[in-house]
Symmetry: D2
Subunit: 187 residues, 4 copies
């Protein structure tokens, strides 16, 4: 990759990329509400008053981030191509069998978590091991679709939304106590 020169005729359409991200998550059977439930699972013990509405909102905000969109689209693409048997044989084998030593799925997940800082790592690892809610279904190999990337991606989005909440709750606490806060850090 290289940074875009300003006069190139091709032009990225960010809205299309954002819309495709939502649309493909939906086509692959994952709702924002299901991801929000993972967030609730992760954050309830820290913020007992946390509402599902807040969880949904935070997931939606995570999905506006370009790095997240890139990882979602790339991961879903590889899952789909594996379902179609369209990959290089050795890669096909590893992705369609969710090979434990493959690891590129974790790498994409990690690129999502990272956008809200390192505090999301442990939440990601935790839901990825426990596989609560939607993650159990995505990880069920008997169901047909290949979700080698998608389960890690969904867990990573939930972990990112959890980090976003942790940042914002801290800001609320400080503002309540008369503190100041810079808008930028809240995004």
């Amino acid at each position: 990759m290289d940074q875009p020169k300003e006069k190139t005729p091709y032009s990225l359409n960010s809205k299309k990329v954002a819309d495709a991200t939502k649309s493909w998550l939906h086509k692959r059977g994952v709702t924002v509400e299901e991801i929000a439930e993972l967030v609730m699972f992760l954050q309830q013990k820290y913020y007992p008053n946390l509402t599902m509405e807040e969880c949904v909102h935070n997931v939606e905000q995570v999905l506006t981030k370009r790095e997240v969109q890139n990882a979602v689209l790339t991961g879903i693409q590889l899952d789909i191509l594996a379902e179609q048997g369209a990959l290089i044989p050795e890669l096909q084998d590893m992705i369609s069998h969710d090979e434990g030593l493959y690891g590129v799925d974790e790498i994409l997940a990690f690129s999502i978590v990272n956008v809200y800082g390192s505090i999301g790592f442990t939440n990601y690892g935790y839901v990825d091991k426990l596989k609560p809610g939607v993650l159990e279904r995505l990880n069920d190999k008997s169901l047909g679709p290949i979700n080698t990337f998608l389960d890690d991606i969904v867990g990573a989005i939930a972990a990112s939304a959890s980090s976003r909440i942790a940042h914002r709750k801290q800001a609320e606490r400080e503002l309540d106590n008369g503190g100041e806060f810079d808008e930028e850090d809240l995004n």
Copy 2:
């Protein structure tokens, strides 16, 4: 680390952390303008109309991010302790000699770059090798202060500000063309 329980008596004061970050960069002899010059060095060929004012603004916004503040304070702290000879002998040797196989300085730098996504990696690596402007001075071992962490951190802040500019310039382009844009992605 673990996420904060809501009723803990200790309370993080974000403004103090932000102020300490700016103050310590200043005490270690690095100005926002010098970091902005690195940004200009990195971005001028992509955006010929980029102004120093924009570069300064973007550096300042990067410095409002908590992950960046954490890395800056931790890195400067280790440099200072190495100057004082206050570290475990083996660590003292590695940090005071800027040992090539140490690598924790790059890890902290990487945690800064990451906040604005992977597109900043190459800018960071590039200025860290070329050492233009302020980085040449910070890396001059004959001058007294130990800046093993600081030079990597300053390069990483400049790379992050460059990524931030790339994201915003794209948004401007699309808005000029009648596109829509979600605020969140711009932070």
Copy 3:
């Protein structure tokens, strides 16, 4: 940091760094056996015949890696300095209270896990949340010592040893089936 010029008078003594790593883990009350127990906790369900001897061996091998040694020494150093109250006040507050938004402890942990590839991320996150065995004691804030970095580091070493085992078990399986294997990938 910069790569070493060959004629520099200072000379890294790798054996000293390796010995200091073991010695400081010991001084901070963590035994190789306790870390090996975390590995057993993580890996037993995948390899029912796994022995404690193998777990101990794999932890010891992880500890020979330079990146691991760098992270261990740096993290323990920051814990010790926080105990002594010797840090910049804002950093002192965050590290001594294991502030949830600090995150540099996770970054160092991540640099350990990474050496054996991305497959260790989830194991790290899992033990860091569950805090089994030695991690419960390290995380007990009522006990006096500050282990803000050490608990993440110990979890990361266990996760890395788990990844190392996963790589080697695969090799054993393939060799048993008459396959070939390149030595390098086993390290």
Copy 4:
């Protein structure tokens, strides 16, 4: 992904994956010698006696690492599918135009560099910006093939081989001085 249960009928064939990696690099027009030339470009000033034979050997050893093979195959796969126009339209646009805000190519590159520790980050960023030797050809958009992933991957392999050399040269130096060295750290 999840770790393999021991009795699964599918069985990863590591030799096939390793062979496919070499074979696909070759099919995409990249030789080990060209990557070795990048290593020489990066390391000559630190080790004036470094030979091309050593550079070739170190590149070959990097290519035996599973994480490297996974990233190479996945990246080349996405380049090929982009050439065939077989991707989701929004992803197709970003990969075929090497969109500056895409960044998954850097993420895969980073997963390669990481295997030999953080000291490779700057070497990767440096060659990725300067694009010496084979990287200039891979990055030439007028030539037909899409190498959005491949140029980053090749730069990352060269950076990793450079880190591997830095580790080994240090070991040689210490052994020459009568020091001891653990084999494991050399891999």
